[in-house]
């Protein structure tokens, strides 16, 4: 497990969160409430002031120089403490991509703004016809008078309504011999004329995701990332980064603690059948954590994470769903009421549990669905014919 020094490190982070994060925001995160953009930005700024907005970034760009193990402890401790997720799009996905493939001007302009929270990014990858099969995307960009002119539609664009910038994959060479080879990555200011954003209403009543339409949207040439038609390669790096931030040990630990609290309040731990399910989830978490630590051990030795990161994503997301489901089970019929003032005032925890169960279904869908993750693992195991 953690060394003494690592434990001291975790304690320092925990103390910071408890001192800096308003209790009201922490409670919202734990109760699956809606964290307002201002609240998230305030937390982003607090982390930024401490120099912790992007610990995994190199020091020259404002990172910490921490080891992979320290970055892991940091992320998991934040999640366990109920800190709002800053969103992976800028800090974990675009930032590292620009460091590798961006122009000097792009790095100078965008990285500090990502770090400070001044720019909020969304990801324009998925389309109505391109989900798991991202390479089939159709949004086009043509070079006209030196500008990229974008036409098409993106879908499931999480946070587009709160973001001011989007990094998007667009088709720039429809005649490329392979579909993957004709795709470029553009940085698009969402205030550009010709962009319209339509919210997608989910059954939970929230508008967290969107459709984004492009009608002759002019993007300046300097907003191309790297070389034209190489966007697919860059996106693989991005999705790899998304995968790494998705093991969710700290979040699952927090949810397990909540499950025990709710189950205790509902006198459910006296029921052997239910108590056994809680125990099963706890053991699953212990196994997952041991797996993550083994991966870290290899990271300490300088190895890059391999296919076990995909395995962690699969099992971590499934455990997250299991815990959400058990929370609903623990509160029984009281999980049904939904909406303002619907929940029993004596069970303040009950109102959002089914919503949280519903919301959690997405974690095996986004970031490369678990079916796609299994395909990737199948390939790496040498199972022939795996797609």
């Amino acid at each position: 497990m953690y060394t003494d020094e690592e434990q001291r490190f975790a304690a320092e982070i925990r103390a910071f969160v408890r001192a800096e994060l308003p209790e009201s925001v922490r409670a919202k995160v734990i109760d699956s409430g809606r964290v307002e953009p201002e609240e998230r930005l305030a937390w982003h700024r607090a982390l930024h002031r401490r120099g912790w907005a992007a610990p995994h970034w190199p020091v020259e760009y404002g990172g910490t120089g921490w080891s992979a193990v320290e970055c892991y402890i940091f992320a998991e401790t934040l999640a366990e403490e109920g800190a709002p997720d800053l969103g992976a799009f800028g800090l974990k996905m675009l930032g590292p991509t620009l460091m590798h493939y961006g122009s000097d001007e792009q790095k100078r302009h965008y990285l500090p703004r990502i770090l400070s929270g001044e720019d909020i990014w969304c990801q324009g990858f998925s389309e109505p016809g391109a989900g798991s099969d991202l390479a089939s995307l159709r949004t086009r960009a043509e070079l006209v008078d030196g500008h990229w002119v974008v036409n098409g539609q993106k879908m499931w664009t999480t946070m587009a309504h709160e973001a001011n910038m989007m990094f998007a994959l667009v088709r720039t060479d429809p005649d490329a011999p392979k579909r993957q080879m004709g795709i470029s990555m553009l940085l698009i200011d969402l205030a550009t004329p010709g962009i319209s954003i339509r919210p997608i209403l989910l059954l939970n009543g929230e508008r967290t995701t969107n459709e984004v339409f492009f009608d002759n949207v002019r993007v300046p040439p300097e907003n191309l990332v790297g070389e034209p038609h190489k966007g697919w390669t860059y996106s693989r790096v991005i999705l790899g980064n998304e995968r790494l931030s998705i093991a969710r040990i700290g979040l699952n630990r927090r949810q397990l603690a909540k499950l025990k609290r709710v189950a205790g309040a509902e006198s459910m731990l006296d029921r052997p059948l239910f108590a056994a399910k809680v125990a099963g989830a706890e053991i699953e978490l212990a196994a997952l954590e041991a797996m993550a630590l083994a991966m870290l051990e290899r990271a300490r030795a300088g190895e890059a994470p391999g296919i076990e990161a995909n395995m962690l994503k699969i099992k971590g997301s499934e455990l997250q769903q299991r815990l959400a489901e058990l929370l609903v089970e623990a509160t029984g019929r009281q999980a049904a009421p939904f909406g303002a003032d619907a929940a029993d005032p004596e069970r303040p925890w009950a109102g959002a549990l089914f919503k949280s169960h519903f919301d959690t279904r997405v974690v095996t869908i986004y970031g490369g669905s678990n079916e796609i993750q299994r395909n990737i693992i199948a390939k790496s195991l040498g199972l022939t014919g795996a797609r």
Partner: protein, 380 residues
Amino acid sequence: MATQPGPGAAAHDDAEIRALLRRSLETALARHYGFEQRRDAHATPAGHSAAAWAAYAEIGLLALTLPEAHGGLPGSLADIAMAAELMGGVLALEPYRATMVAARLLAAAGTPEQQAAWLPRLADGSARAALAHEEGAGRLDAPIATQAVRDGNGWRLSGRKAVVAGGDAADIFIVSARVDDAIGLFLVPAEQAVRRAYRCFDWTGAADLMFADITLPGDAKLAGGAGALARALDEATALACADAVGAMRAASRLTRDYACTRRQFGVPIVSFQVLQHRLVDMAIAVEMAAPITAAAIAACETADDPARIRAVSAAKVKADESARYIGQQCVQIHGGMGLTQEYPAAHFFARLGLFERAWGDSDEHLQRFASALSSRESLD
């Protein structure tokens, strides 16, 4: 009919009547329950479709099995289950099952005066009823805390009932309460309860009720008690299973159709064997749930108490298991589309997910089945 019909002919008539009811209801649902019509119905203050409710009444679905003297029509619980299944398939929002369970309980256990006062209005759809039994988290084995005490010629009722399905729309409640050491059932007009009405995550309506030491007349108590209540709860459970079976069938069909048309990697996603097997497992799950649900419905009508208890708990356990798998796979295979409000997949997930929580969950029914088993074996 001129000649005396034999038992075979009666069964034939029953089947014919049910087929007729089925066709009528299918026609009514096709007319009133498009997905957008459902959304619009949900947006009304009542939260469900007045037109659909009127159609149920017109077809006679609300009168089924009730005494003909009070406006009822002949039929069986299986007819009601058939209707519930079709309504589950379109995610209907009206309190049909709630009203039927309460009306049948009133017909079975109410006094002649109570029946005469309420059954005609329930049978013609001008009033709705609900059985208010569950408290707290609705655990099957939780003792009833609501209490009724004698007060002169009348009764005083105090307690709280939680998440009463259809309780938002009911005009009359049948409330279970402790009376000394026994269980009593009381007819309580809605205006006498402090009612907190709301919608559930699946868009159906419900209510919490509070009785703050209210006074009821002496004739508010039903003639029947614990036995009638137990039977009504089992009927409610079996009918909920029937509704879920309808939702499962529709969710499986929706998912299959989506997988057949959604293309990724140049092919319909249904061509991937991993998805084929899941769709097969969904089909198996439907077929595992439907017949055992029909058996539970039949047991509610014909079996003795221990056999009925076992049949209903068995159906709930299997239907829960199938509902969980189908609801979750329906969302997963649809991807992001499976979470939106504008498409039925998420609504099926919600309905099936809350079905699992209604009328006792799988663990409680497993436990009840096991207890029934051991008590029966110890008798042998």
